[in-house]
């Protein structure tokens, strides 16, 4: 069984910005271990010579010409905002800069 601890899940939940209770962390750790066990054979399926496929249908050089198209009005842009002020989205204090 894959080793996935509650601390591991707490770290993942932090990375994913989902607050979780202790009970949720425990439950998720167990489920995650189960799922990872079920899928981990994938890592042995292909040798190093097999290339990765990220797009099912290979395409390349798909571009847009540099032409200005439509914009939303500030009212449209902010229409779904949970909080707004002075035509801008308002958010609570930010702890630190990225």
């Amino acid at each position: 069984m894959a080793e996935i601890t509650r601390d591991d899940v707490a770290h993942l939940a932090q990375l994913a910005r989902i607050e979780m209770s202790e009970a949720e962390l425990d439950k998720m750790a167990g489920e995650l271990a189960h799922i990872v066990d079920a899928v981990k054979s994938v890592s042995e399926a292909a040798g190093p010579d097999v290339p990765a496929t990220s797009h099912p249908i290979p395409l390349s050089n798909v571009f847009r010409e540099d032409v200005v198209g439509h914009v939303l009005t500030p009212a449209e842009a902010l229409s779904g905002a949970p909080d707004a002020d002075e035509d801008r989205f308002r958010v609570p204090a930010i702890l630190d800069e990225e």
């Binding site: 842009a77 930010i94 800069e97």
Partner: protein, 503 residues
């Protein structure tokens, strides 16, 4: 605010340590539309007016790559002597931050569009330092946060923040150097010169407005120290968003001194980001490197690879302008300026203007005289770029011709120039409209001279007595009486003649 850091004197730091530098310079491209959406790429508009659903990361939206942004990126790569990738991809850099609408930045990771280049950077004294370029990659800018409440307008202590996504999705090219070793005590100077050179290149390419005060060019500076003679790099700090040439120089100097103090006292440098404070010319600690820096990069599934054909790359290469350093060298020789003269011209930002003026028919000396002697000062007063004053090379050639042809003296030419700047017409039109005509008939001059001599008999005596340099006072009186419309040289001749003194 963190406690003030100890610093060592720069000289002592240099005696004991060798600095290693590294730069990440973000260049905003001046495309018409954004990197992945068709919203306009415009600076300074009202908040959230240059956004559409793609820029806001609305549910269901998809990005589409701006061809012009790719071309600009390739041009930058070529100008930095990079290899252009045969094939490259976009990747998602995942992190949550409210200025990042999708909570990931679409960037490039292991496959940048340009890699392995170099840039020769010239220091003040002409020393050339080669900086190796690791990569230049394409990505998108974030929105703009304004921190409200709190005392400082800074993020610390703010009550809340407001987000304007106009800048979100503006195309960026991030240029990353390899570690720069061997700069020694010239490291701060090199830092400034490097960023200046990058700025000049992208401006010269026409791919960026390159205005640092608008954030078109932004620099993160990495500094570490190693004991003199060592070859193992020390722990580095990354000072973020050092956004003027002067700040880059100061920030690198400060970090060298700070690291030196830490190391000299037996401490260890923390790997962290630092914030630059222009007011105190110091840095303070930001976020230490941590697990939170796990960006979980993976290939952007909504975009397909960019595969620049060699033909396309060569087509773009053919459009590149002459590199700024080479161009400067060529012009300096062609114009025959002394080192100091040329440096002043460069620093005043009128190389191009002089080049155009020479092309329009002025001699290099005359062009320099007009731009450096007259126009730069007026531009400074008006707080605009010299080229923005509205004086065309043709106007300068014309004005210069009027002076050399004896129709205007320098003082009157200055008034004509003012008239041209004020939009009153061509130099000849201004001259005529303002009635600025050099008095060349001697009779009215002689009358004025006699009057001036009569008004200052003691001066006249001095001149008669051989103190020829005193003639200036009489000349001044004549010029005043003729409202400056006399040829001062001729006035002087006539005064001496009148007084029977030879020059």
């Amino acid at each position: 605010m963190a406690a003030t850091d100890e610093i060592l004197s720069f000289d002592e730091a240099m005696e004991r340590f060798d600095p290693v530098l590294g730069f990440e310079v973000h260049v905003e491209l001046n495309t018409k539309s954004k990197m992945f959406s068709s919203a306009p790429n415009v600076f300074g508009d009202d908040p959230n007016t240059n956004v559409n659903e793609v820029d806001l990361g609305m549910p269901g939206v998809l990005p589409v790559v701006n061809r012009a942004a790719v071309e600009s990126s390739i041009k930058i790569g070529l100008a930095l002597n990079c290899e252009i990738a045969e094939s490259c991809r976009f990747a998602r850099k995942n992190y949550f931050y409210p200025d990042t609408p999708k909570n990931f930045q679409t960037s490039q990771y292991d496959e940048p569009i340009a890699h392995d280049g170099w840039l020769d950077v010239e220091l003040e004294d002409g020393t050339v330092f080669r900086v190796e370029i690791e990569r230049a990659h394409m990505e998108e800018d974030a929105g703009k946060l304004t921190h409200m409440g709190g005392a400082t307008g800074r993020i610390q202590g703010a009550d809340y923040s407001l987000v304007d996504y106009n800048r979100a999705g503006v195309p960026l090219v991030e240029i990353v150097t390899k570690p720069i070793v061997g700069a020694g005590s010239r490291a701060p100077e090199l830092a400034r010169a490097y960023v200046s050179a990058v700025r000049e290149i992208v401006k010269n390419l026409g791919v960026s407005d390159a205005r640092m005060e608008r954030g078109n060019v932004r620099c993160d500076a990495n500094v570490s120290l190693m004991p003199k003679g060592a070859d193992k790099f020390g722990t580095r700090s990354e000072t973020k968003n050092v956004n003027s040439l002067r700040s880059v120089e100061h920030a690198v100097r400060f970090e060298i001194q700070r690291h030196a103090a830490v190391l000299a006292s037996g401490g260890t440098v923390t790997q962290e980001t630092r914030h630059w404070h222009e007011d105190t010319r110091t840095t303070t600690a930001g976020r230490p490197k941590s697990d939170a820096d796990d960006y979980r990069y993976f290939p952007e599934p909504d975009l397909v690879p960019v595969v620049p054909s060699r033909e396309w790359v060569e087509e773009l290469r053919a459009t590149l302008p002459e590199p700024p350093a080479e161009r400067r060298k060529r012009l300096k020789e062609a114009w025959g300026y002394a080192d100091a003269e040329f440096r002043d011209v460069v620093n005043a930002g009128v190389v191009e203007a002089i080049e155009e003026t020479v092309a329009a028919g002025a001699s290099p000396q005359a062009a320099r005289k007009w731009w450096m002697g007259e126009i730069v000062g007026r531009a400074k007063t008006a707080d605009v770029d010299p080229a923005e004053l509205g004086v065309t090379p043709a106007a300068i050639v014309e004005l210069n011709g009027l002076v050399e042809g004896g129709k205007l003296n320098n003082k009157m030419a200055g008034q004509v120039l003012d008239g041209v700047i004020a939009g009153e017409g061509t130099p000849t039109q201004v001259m005529e409209a303002r009635g600025l005509v050099l008095v060349s008939d001697d009779r009215p001059l002689l009358e004025a001279i006699d009057a001036a001599l009569a008004a200052q008999p003691d001066v006249a005596d001095k001149i008669r007595g051989g103190k020829v340099q005193a003639v200036g006072a009489i000349v001044g009186g004549v010029m005043k009486a003729t409202r400056g419309q006399a040829d001062a040289g001729r006035v002087k001749e006539l005064i001496l003649e009148r007084l029977g003194v030879s020059a």
